[in-house]
C-alpha cells in the first residue's frame, strides 16, 4: 500500500461523510483479486457472473441485457451529446478485492479500511446509523446492521448476498420496477451490475435510524454499476441514505446505478441521495419506486458533483391513496451539467404526487429539469403539484425546463409552477454593504434559495449541504 497521493485535513469533524468531494479526492493503490479487464463483451459478463457464482437464470438475464444495451442507441435525440464522449471500450467493468463483505471494520483490509476511515464512515455509523454498507469499486467491503435492527427481521445486505441468501424475495421484485430495457443505461447496469444494497423490512417494522450506503470509486477508467432493491412490507418504514466519492481523475469514470423501491400497502420509504462525485464522473442513474395502497415513497435527491448527471427519480402510484414525492436540489458549476427531474405515474384513484425541484447554475454550469406527470383519463381524485425554480448566478449560466404533464379527464387536479431568478448585482452589493464578502453573499443567496427544501432534510444533511455550497461558491468568485 502506498501513501495517498494527496493529504487533506482530518475528517473527524465531518458529520456526514462522503458529501464533501474535496475530502474524497485521494487514492490508495489497491491490488485487485478480481478484474474483468477493459471493455465490454459477452466474456466480461460471463466473468462477472462466474466470480459471483451466480445461478444460470441470472447469467441469462445479464446476457440478454447486454444485447439490449448494444442495440439501444444513446438517447442523444433528447439528451446532451456529451454522452458520446463515454468510451465504453476503455472502461473496466468489474474490480474487486474479495467477494464477501466484512462484518467488522477490523476485518476489512487496511488500505480499504483506511479509505473509509478517512471519509468518516465508521464514526458516523457509531453515531446515528442503524446499518452501513460500504462499497469499494465493484463490491461491498463492509456491511453491517445493528443487532437490534436485525432482530426485528430487517435484512440489509449487498445485492450479491441478497441474491444468494434471500432468492425468494429478491427474485420476486428484482427488475420488476425498472425493466432491463427501460433505457440504455438500465440495460447496461442489468448486464454488469455488482454491489448495491438489498433491503427488506418485514410488515409493521419501523426502522428507527437511517440505513446508509456509501459508494467509493477508487480505480481509474472504472465503471461502478450498483443495483439496489428496497422492499418495505405492509406498514413498514425505512429511511435509506447514500453518499459517494471518487478521486479526481483526468479520464472519465462511469457510474450507472439502478435503484428499485417497493412500498407495499401502507409502507413508507424515504431515499436520500447526496451525490457529490468528482467532476470527471458520468452519473447516469435510473431510480424508481412502486407505491401500493396507502404507501408513500419520498425521494430526496441532491446533485452537487459529477460532470454529467442524468437522473429522474420516479414513483409509480399503483395503489389507491398512494403518495409520491421528489424533492430535488441540483447545483451545476463550471464544466457540469445537472440534468435531473422527476417522474410521477398515477395508476390508481386518489393518488397524490408532489415534485419540488430547485436548481442553481453557477458560471458556465448548466442545469436542466425534466419532469413527467401522467394521470390517465379513467382515474379520479388524483392530485399533482410540481414546482421548479431555477437560480442563475452569472450571466452565462444556463437553465432549461422541460415539463411534460399529461392529465386526462376532468376529475383530477394538477398545478405547475416554474420560476427563474437571478442573483442580481444589487442583491450582492446589499449584502456586501453589511460586511459579507462576495462569496459569502453568494452562498447566502443560494442557501436562502434552497432553504425551504433543505429544512425537510435530516439535520446532518442540511448542515453539510450548506457547508458544501459555501465551498462551491468560494471557488466561483474571481
Amino acid at each position: 500500500m502506498k501513501p495517498p497521493s494527496e493529504i487533506d485535513s482530518a475528517v473527524a469533524d465531518n458529520p456526514v461523510a462522503g458529501i464533501d468531494q474535496s475530502r474524497g479526492d485521494f487514492k490508495y493503490d489497491v491490488t485487485y483479486e478480481f478484474d474483468a479487464g477493459t471493455g465490454l463483451n459477452e466474456n466480461t459478463v460471463r466473468y462477472i457472473s462466474q466470480v459471483k457464482k451466480e445461478e444460470p437464470w441470472l447469467l441469462e438475464f445479464r446476457l440478454k441485457a447486454l444485447q439490449t444495451f448494444l442495440e439501444k442507441p444513446l438517447p442523444t435525440h433528447w439528451a446532451t451529446k456529451d454522452l458520446e464522449n463515454i468510451n465504453f471500450d476503455k472502461i473496466r467493468y468489474y474490480l474487486a478485492s474479495g467477494q464477501k463483505p466484512k462484518r467488522t471494520w477490523d476485518e476489512v483490509p487496511d488500505d480499504i479500511k483506511q479509505t473509509f476511515e478517512r471519509l468518516g464512515i465508521p464514526e458516523q455509523e457509531r453515531k446515528f446509523l442503524a446499518g452501513v454498507e460500504a462499497q469499494f469499486d465493484s463490491e461491498a467491503a463492509y456491511s453491517n446492521i445493528k443487532e437490534a435492527v436485525a432482530k426485528q427481521g430487517v435484512i440489509f445486505v449487498n445485492s450479491t448476498e441478497g441474491l444468494r441468501e434471500h432468492p425468494e424475495i429478491f427474485r420476486k421484485f428484482f427488475g420488476k420496477v425498472i425493466p432491463t430495457g427501460d433505457n440504455k443505461f438500465s440495460a447496461l447496469n442489468s448486464a454488469v451490475f455488482s454491489g448495491g444494497s438489498f433491503i427488506y423490512v418485514p410488515p409493521g417494522v419501523k426502522v428507527s435510524h437511517p440505513l446508509q450506503a456509501y459508494f467509493r470509486i477508487n480505480a481509474e477508467n472504472f465503471g461502478q454499476f450498483e443495483r439496489t432493491l428496497i422492499i418495505a412490507d405492509e406498514g413498514a418504514e425505512v429511511v435509506y441514505m447514500e453518499g459517494c466519492t471518487a478521486p479526481k481523475f483526468s479520464t472519465s469514470t462511469l457510474h450507472s446505478a439502478v435503484v428499485e423501491l417497493v412500498a407495499l400497502k401502507g409502507a413508507k420509504i424515504q431515499y436520500i441521495t447526496v451525490q457529490n462525485w468528482a467532476n470527471n464522473v458520468f452519473n447516469l442513474v435510473t431510480k424508481r419506486g412502486v407505491a401500493h395502497e396507502d404507501a408513500e415513497i419520498k425521494w430526496i435527491d441532491c446533485n452537487i458533483g459529477s460532470r454529467l448527471t442524468m437522473k429522474y427519480p420516479g414513483v409509480v402510484l399503483k395503489g389507491e391513496r398512494a403518495r409520491g414525492e421528489v424533492l430535488s436540489i441540483a447545483l451545476a458549476n463550471d464544466g457540469q451539467h445537472q440534468d435531473t427531474g422527476a417522474k410521477m405515474i398515477h395508476a390508481a384513484n386518489h393518488t397524490t404526487s408532489n415534485v419540488i425541484a430547485k436548481s442553481i447554475s453557477v458560471g458556465q454550469g448548466r442545469s436542466t429539469y425534466r419532469g413527467v406527470v401522467h394521470i390517465p383519463k379513467h382515474l379520479r381524485g388524483c392530485k399533482n403539484n410540481t414546482e421548479c425554480d431555477a437560480l442563475l448566478i452569472n450571466a452565462n449560466s444556463r437553465t432549461d425546463t422541460y415539463p411534460a404533464i399529461s392529465v386526462r379527464g376532468d376529475r383530477n387536479a394538477t398545478q405547475h409552477e416554474a420560476s427563474v431568478s437571478k442573483v442580481s448585482e444589487d442583491m450582492i452589493f446589499y449584502m456586501q454593504s453589511r460586511g459579507l464578502t462576495e462569496a459569502q453573499a453568494m452562498s447566502l443567496a443560494v442557501n436562502g434559495f434552497i432553504n425551504d427544501l433543505a429544512r425537510q432534510f435530516p439535520m446532518e444533511y442540511s448542515v453539510e449541504l450548506k457547508r458544501l455550497i459555501d465551498l462551491e461558491m468560494e471557488g466561483s468568485v474571481g
Partner: protein
C-alpha cells in the same frame, strides 16, 4: 472619536459626471442632513462612498479616520465602519433577518473565531427592545414582502446591530406614511449620539421634524452649495429649492 472626510469627491455614471467636487467632514456623534432637489446626486454620493460597482470615482478621496476607503471592496468598507441604509433595500428570499445579521456579525470576527449564539441573540433582542421591534420580525426573510415601513425598520435594526462608525442614510423617509416615519425617526434618535456619526439624506423637510440635525447642507448639481444649522431646513421648506437656484444664479452672474 472618529472622522469621515469627503474631499473634492467626484463620481460618474458611465461618462456622465454626477458628483462634482463634494466636500464634507463628519465627526462621531454628529447628524448631518443633506438636502436637495431630485437628481442632484445625493443617492449617488452615498452609494459611491459605500463602494457600489456601478459608480466610477473620478477624483477626490473619502477618508475614514485618515485612511482612504476608495481601494476597498464594499464589504471591507462595511467592516471598517461604514453603513449604508438603502433607499430601496434588496430582498433576500429564504434568508431570515436573524441569520443574515448573524452572518454579518460573524464576518466581522477574526478567522477561526466562532460566534457565541447565546450572546448574539441576547444582543439582538436587546436592540429589538430598544427599537420596539416585535420578536417575530427577525424570523422573516430579509425584506421579502415587507411594507415600506418594515423595510426601513429592518435597515435600522441592522444599523443597530452592526454598530458602524458612520451611517449613510439614503432617503430613509421615502415611501413612508407619517406613522412609519415616526417609528424610523425614533429608531435613529435612539441610536444617535455617542460614537455614531450620521449623514442623513432627504428630499423633504418633514423627516427633520423628527430627527433634528446638527447641521443642514444643501446639495445642488453634484456639490454642496449651502450649509447651516436646523433653521436652514425650515428656510428651505418655506422658500423651496428655487430659492437656492436663484441665489446661485445671482452669485455666478
Amino acid at each position: 472619536m472618529s472622522k469621515l472626510e469627503i474631499k473634492d469627491f467626484r463620481v460618474s455614471i458611465g461618462d456622465k459626471p454626477i458628483v462634482k467636487g463634494f466636500n464634507l467632514t463628519i465627526n462621531s456623534g454628529e447628524v448631518h442632513a443633506i438636502m436637495g432637489p431630485n437628481g442632484t446626486g445625493k443617492s449617488t454620493l452615498a452609494k459611491a462612498i459605500a463602494g457600489h460597482p456601478d459608480y466610477a470615482v473620478t477624483g477626490g478621496d473619502v477618508l475614514l479616520d485618515g485612511k482612504s476607503v476608495l481601494a476597498m471592496e464594499p464589504d471591507e468598507r462595511a467592516r471598517a465602519g461604514l453603513f449604508l441604509a438603502f433607499q430601496y433595500p434588496s430582498e433576500i428570499p429564504g434568508v431570515s433577518i436573524a441569520n443574515f445579521l448573524r452572518a454579518a456579525v460573524q464576518a466581522r470576527m477574526a478567522e477561526g473565531e466562532e460566534l457565541d449564539a447565546t450572546g448574539y441573540y441576547k444582543r439582538l433582542y436587546s436592540k429589538m427592545d430598544l427599537l420596539k421591534i416585535d420578536r417575530k420580525f427577525t424570523s422573516r426573510s430579509v425584506n421579502e414582502g415587507f411594507s415600506g415601513g418594515e423595510k426601513k425598520r429592518c435597515e435600522i435594526l441592522q444599523m443597530a446591530m452592526l454598530e458602524p462608525k458612520f451611517a449613510l442614510m439614503d432617503e430613509t423617509d421615502s415611501g413612508l406614511d407619517i406613522d412609519a416615519l415616526r417609528i424610523v425617526a425614533d429608531g435613529v434618535n435612539a441610536l444617535r449620539g455617542g460614537q455614531l456619526g450620521i449623514m442623513l439624506i432627504t428630499h423633504y423637510q418633514r423627516l427633520l421634524d423628527y430627527i433634528v440635525p446638527d447641521f443642514v447642507h444643501v446639495m445642488y448639481d453634484g456639490r454642496l452649495v449651502k450649509s447651516g444649522d436646523k433653521s436652514l431646513a425650515l428656510e428651505l421648506e418655506a422658500k423651496g429649492y428655487d430659492w437656492v437656484k436663484q441665489e446661485l444664479a445671482a452669485a455666478s452672474a
